[in-house]
Amino acid sequence: MLKIDNIHARAGEKEILKGISLTVNAGEVHAIMGPNGSGKSTLAQVIAGHPGFEVTSGSITYGGDDLLDMDPEVRAQKGVFLAFQYPVEIPGVTNAYFLRSAYNEIRKANGQEDIDPMDFLDLMEKKIKLVDMDPAMLHRSVNAGFSGGEKKRNEILQMAVLEPKLAILDETDSGLDIDALRVVSGGVNALKRADNATIVVTHYQRLLNYIVPDFVHVLAGGKIVKSGGKELALELEAKGYDWLVDAA
């Protein structure tokens, strides 16, 4: 589904990703771990197409197509979803309207008609239960005045509605209390299917108690320094990152 081949990327003059390769197949859950500043979030942003990062070499294909050649909105329309580490506020635009706009853009890209607004409401009612969110939130402005936990739930709600093929969760666990963490990961697990894939970017092992990865990759200094199965996460929990960073 996603094939990252020796990607280098920088922000301004600073090179952040220094040759990353990673293959993600349908049905898989990959965890990207690593210390602060290792390039985890940059990798997530580069996949989503953030204009602040410039890819200097390497390639990324998605479903066989050149991902780097696509505008961010095209990536989204083709099923790439980034759950933001810091979800952005859009005052005056209701959550429901924003989501319906996004939903319809994706339908349009797939040659489908706009969804009937009433049908969309039904869909929302169903999806909002997944993340245990107050339906009143749908009529509040996108993320405006939301607590940290509410913003993260809102990201997962968007994911539930848009049903991406490739979901990237960028530190979705940071700032969540244990209950919220359980709700959010429950939502993610419920959305897992044989034909989609998830990349979980996280600093801590605890999220991986809830979202069990098939593969764990450790990023340090802009490179993947170690890959393994889910047991690698436990090892990291016990030993920290230093032994890997030093070895690299």
Binding site: A48, G49, H50, P51, G52, D71, P72, E73, R75, A76, Q77, F81, L82, F84, P87, V88, E89, I90, P91, G92, V93, F98, S101, A102, E105, I106, A109, S141, V142, Q158, L162
Partner: protein, 477 residues
């Protein structure tokens, strides 16, 4: 901003076509003779000619105001034409008699004078250059005693109302442009809602400047008698020309005791091209007088014109009267706007609300100018002002000039202001959800303007939102 944003192209002004009809146009220049000629062409009564002449003489003694925060080369008032009427206009019995080219023009503007609007329950008085060419729904309105007609018709059919209220809110001596308008106004709309009547439909006028170098000086007078209610919509477009055109209109609203007038404008006059060539100079005086327990509400969405200079105002004359001003003003490229409102609190316990949203893009300059004046006898007066600016790009400007004068101890005024920049983060967030840059900007901006849009009648709100999108296309670079 990202390269995908930079590559967006400006959408051309889609209403920039010229209708080829035979016009009856006066030679350029303004003299007493011209004023007399306009009056006689319209077969006006003597008192109206006298009023025009007084205005003209007063105008000669006045100078053009230069305090607005806008720049433009001197206007040669002797080079403009002061009257232009499509020649084919005779008294019309039905729409079938209207020049098909004119109807086609309206169609391009998306205004259907016929079935559609009837179904939508909107009566349209369309002003083409200076003469009103068709009025619909007149019968339905007259059942309720509502008068809705062109200004010229009203002069002939309801002279007592015109004589009583013309100039009662905006006297001809009010300001330079109001005096000019009073001398040479060619047509406009008149509307009277009798005592206790709730006007059964939204009234709507579409203005359009067609003939080249013709200043349009229309005059609108709305009188809501005691306890009446009316909602009035005004839409404006003009063809695309390389020279600047002057538009100096006057709107007077009279809200008698316990009545309500809601006046909504979507102004999309031609704004000039990207280099600032051409475009309308929109110098307009709009004011209402609210008597006891009456309410006047102005809502405006200003997306067009090279220069906008207007301050829809309310004189809160009667006790407990209410004034509202909701405004969205957008400037892009080289557009300039100096707009806002005046709320003059005269009566006791009068209340006013001002919500102003200014959006600046390209090299546009946007100024909010507002005056809240509480006179000594206006005990217990209240004002709330909120004034927000949004900047798109880094070559534009937003300016705020609030004046607040309170002359008693029992009143309260509040003023809140904010300035924000449309963020790359917001745009990327939308794009990451599948929205194009254009769609993202229009979504973010309409969110910013929501408090104002919700004051507009439904179909107008949609149009305003679309116009905003068109105006701002290609603005992020």
């Amino acid at each position: 901003m990202g390269s995908s944003i930079e590559t967006l192209v400006n959408k051309e002004y889609q209403y920039g076509f010229v209708t080829d009809v035979d016009s009856d146009t006066l030679a350029p220049g303004l003299t007493e003779e011209v004023v007399r000629l306009i009056s006689s062409k319209k077969a006006e009564p003597e008192w109206l000619l006298e009023w025009r002449l007084k205005a003209y003489r007063r105008w000669l003694t006045m100078t053009e105001p230069h305090w607005p925060n806008v720049k433009y080369p001197p206007i040669d008032y002797q080079a403009a034409r002061y009257y232009s009427a499509p020649k084919s206009v005779k008294p019309l019995q039905s729409l079938d008699e209207v020049d098909p080219e004119l109807l086609a023009t309206y169609k391009k503007l998306g205004i259907s004078l016929t079935e559609q609007k009837m179904l939508a329950g909107v009566a349209v008085d369309a002003i083409f250059d200076s003469v009103s060419v068709g009025t619909t729904m007149k019968e339905e309105l007259s059942k309720h005693g509502v008068v809705f007609c062109s200004f010229s018709e009203a002069v002939h059919n309801h002279p007592e109302l015109i004589q009583k209220y013309l100039g009662s809110v905006v006297p001809y001596s009010d300001n330079f442009f109001a005096a000019l308008n009073s001398a040479v106004f060619s047509d406009g709309s008149f509307c009277y809602i009798p005592k206790g009547v709730r006007c059964p439909m939204e009234l709507s006028t579409y203005f359009r400047i067609n003939a080249a170098e013709t200043g349009q000086f229309e005059r609108t007078l709305i009188v809501a008698d005691e306890g009446a209610y009316v909602s009035y919509l005004e839409g404006c477009t003009a063809p695309k020309r390389s020279t600047n055109q002057l538009h100096a209109a006057v709107v007077e609203l009279v809200a008698l005791d316990r009545s309500t007038i809601k006046y909504s404008t979507v102004q999309n006059w031609y704004a000039g091209d990207k280099e600032g060539v051409g475009g309308i100079y929109n110098f307009v005086t709009k004011r209402g007088k609210a008597h006891a327990d009456a309410k006047i509400s102005w809502t405006q969405v200003e997306t067009g014109s090279a220069i906008t200079w207007k301050y829809p105002s309310v004189i809160l004359q009667g006790d407990n009267s209410v004034g509202e001003f909701y405004s969205v003003a957008v400037v892009n490229n080289k557009q300039q706007a100096d707009t806002g409102t005046k709320m003059i609190h005269v009566g006791k316990n009068t209340k006013s609300t001002i919500i102003s949203k200014g959006i600046s893009a390209g090299e546009g300059q946007n100024s909010y100018r507002g005056r809240v004046q509480v006179l000594p006898k206006a005990e217990g007066a209240r004002n709330y002002t909120q004034c927000d600016s949004m900047l798109i790009g880094n070559k534009c400007g937003a300016h705020t000039f609030p004046y607040i004068e309170v002359a008693n101890n029992s009143s309260m005024t509040e003023h809140e202001a904010s300035t924000s920049k449309i963020g790359e983060d917001q745009i990327f967030y939308c794009k990451a959800r599948g929205l194009s840059t254009e769609h993202a900007i229009s979504l973010i901006v309409s969110g910013f303007c929501r408090e104002v849009f919700k004051e507009l009648p439904m179909e107008f709100a949609l149009e305003a939102q679309q116009l905003l999108g068109i105006t701002l296309e290609g603005s992020v670079g």
